[in-house]
Symmetry: C2
Subunit: 110 residues, 2 copies
């Protein structure tokens, strides 16, 4: 197989999984962090920061975009990428909710 049974889960579960999966690669974490480091958005030079060939970086960017974590605006012959705050908010809120639930539950058994 190798194909996930997506029909069997809730929208929310699939959304969280999709966003998390997009971040689930160090190159994409590095891309996100680079987008954070520079002011506002960044056009070009993402390739120069990563230890990967240009087509590979392009593919990682595409996956981040498909998952909704970044947006890309065409500016002339280059593309301006920036993070989609909503997507990060979704993840942050989700994990904050988990932590809150953990905190109010009895956890003495482990």
């Amino acid at each position: 197989m190798g194909a996930t049974k997506t029909d069997e889960y809730t929208e929310s579960q699939i959304l969280v999984a999709t966003l998390a999966k997009a971040i689930g690669h160090p190159a994409r974490v590095a891309i996100i962090e680079y987008l954070m480091k520079v002011d506002s958005c960044i056009c070009g030079d993402i390739v120069d920061v990563l230890p990967l060939a240009q087509p590979t970086v392009s593919r990682h960017l595409k996956e981040l975009k498909n998952a909704g974590l970044i947006r890309g605006n065409v500016i002339g012959n280059s593309i301006c990428y920036c993070i989609d705050k909503n997507a990060v908010d979704t993840l942050q809120t989700y994990f904050a909710g988990l932590i809150h639930t953990i905190s109010i539950k009895d956890k003495t058994c482990c």
Copy 2:
């Protein structure tokens, strides 16, 4: 290929990617949520909640465990699983940091 160039990234990037990757599947999100829903830890019956065969669930649990997101304590002939709060904290803190950085940066370009 298919193998990630892990040598080229920081410890932090690999940690975040590893944790995020572990959550990057709806079945594992469902497992996490089930562990949250019940009080404290849960022994057994995770298999009954998922639309997957027992060995497949076992494999997902193993991956969550390898990533450090859950712990498993052997209790008799069953295993008591619970979430590792530290791992969730790591993710929550990370995304909160991202959001903070996004908020203080100029984002007028996109």
